[in-house]
Assembly symmetry: C2
Homo-oligomer: 230 residues x 2
Amino acid sequence: MIETLAVSSDIPATAQLHPMPFTRIELAILSIVDGRLAVLLGKRAGAPHKGKWALPGGVLRIDLDRDLEGAAQRIAGERLGVTLPYLRQLQAVGGKSRDSRAPWALSIAYRALLPSDAIDPKAGKRLEAIRWCAVDEAIADSKLAFDHADLIRSAMEATRAEIERLELPFGFLPEAFTLGELQSCCEAILGRRLDKSSFRRRLDERELLEPVAGEMRTGAFRPAQLYRRR
Amino acid sequence: MIETLAVSSDIPATAQLHPMPFTRIELAILSIVDGRLAVLLGKRAGAPHKGKWALPGGVLRIDLDRDLEGAAQRIAGERLGVTLPYLRQLQAVGGKSRDSRAPWALSIAYRALLPSDAIDPKAGKRLEAIRWCAVDEAIADSKLAFDHADLIRSAMEATRAEIERLELPFGFLPEAFTLGELQSCCEAILGRRLDKSSFRRRLDERELLEPVAGEMRTGAFRPAQLYRRR
DNA sequence: TCTCTTAGTGGCATTACACTACTAACTATA
DNA sequence: TATAGTTAGTAGTGTAATGCCACTAAGAGA
């Protein structure tokens, strides 16, 4: 039926028979705030879950979006005024009565890494307010809207696994950074301390970074060599 | 072209304003055939891609399916007459002009592990034929329908990564099995030989298995201890 | 000049694992 | 009955990765 009829110009009867799910994109945007891994939340301005905190997101628009990643970028631009580097699809969740706006709701969750100052705290269209929330607290918070606590947990786990594999969180870092800054980032993501010596040796063997010749970060103490992505 | 609206008896205007994508589930069902990792393909009986081989799949039915995994199980039951253990969501793919039946098509891909004899080769409703195809060949085959070669690659990579982490492929094995059988499975998935001694030591340290006391697999050569999942 | 703090390096111990070699137990066949 | 062939199972050694600890270096500030 669906398999057998279909020409692009004709409308196959069966495809019209079945209503399709209310389809959204949700964004788990992570950052480091006060040395802890944090996620961007928006306070919902309307029903459902009015007044609760939730991941920013929006409806998939088949007239505007070329593909799923394009939809995620459009929504990030419209709602938050940013484009998202290091975007990665997390998972799809869907089911009956996930969202009272429709009988069946499907969400595709994306994750991005951003420095926290890349978001204007006054942005957030269609949201009363936005804020950064430590992921530990967000996951434990039973008052988050929808099933967003699960999505945040999934974002955190995926990001931790990347760091364990030494896929570095360049999204959190400026173009040039010190090894100390990089290590602090990784520690914030993993939620545990790392050994400086082992960490550097591992980076070294994999040849992931190159020093920016002559450039040092100078500050209160001994200056540190700056590195960039290789 | 189809424009499927999200519908509901009492919904806010926003949910109804936008047409929703044509949403399907695709199944990457893996097995070991002749010592090689293989994927189940169906020959398409109708347009689009009529006569080409594709992953089995079906349309998400919001009237029938409670959630995404339920949809995957319903489709596996209807099309292949099986229920799928060790089901895992792979990824969502979507975009304009993925499928000529609709202006915007979204597919959620699932992966399952099954012994090859769990599928009746005469099954395959709405498909001309079904067959097992070695994943290497399927990935290299530019004539597969839609973007299914990408989905198969993704299924293979996800499964290999699981084996590397010693998440064992119990879906391919009977209740009780020998260490030799388990090792052969893993070798077929990884596409390389493993060292017997190391493999056993790693299993041992992680305490993943327990011997079935007194039970041995007897055959042409020295009998082997049977193990089960712990 | 001394202390404090961060940057950066070196060495030893432990662990995980690859590689090799070996013994054990069964069948089949001469 | 002896022997070859095949799979099951164990043991030991070397090496690579890395955890852990200790050390030196370079700046600021008291």
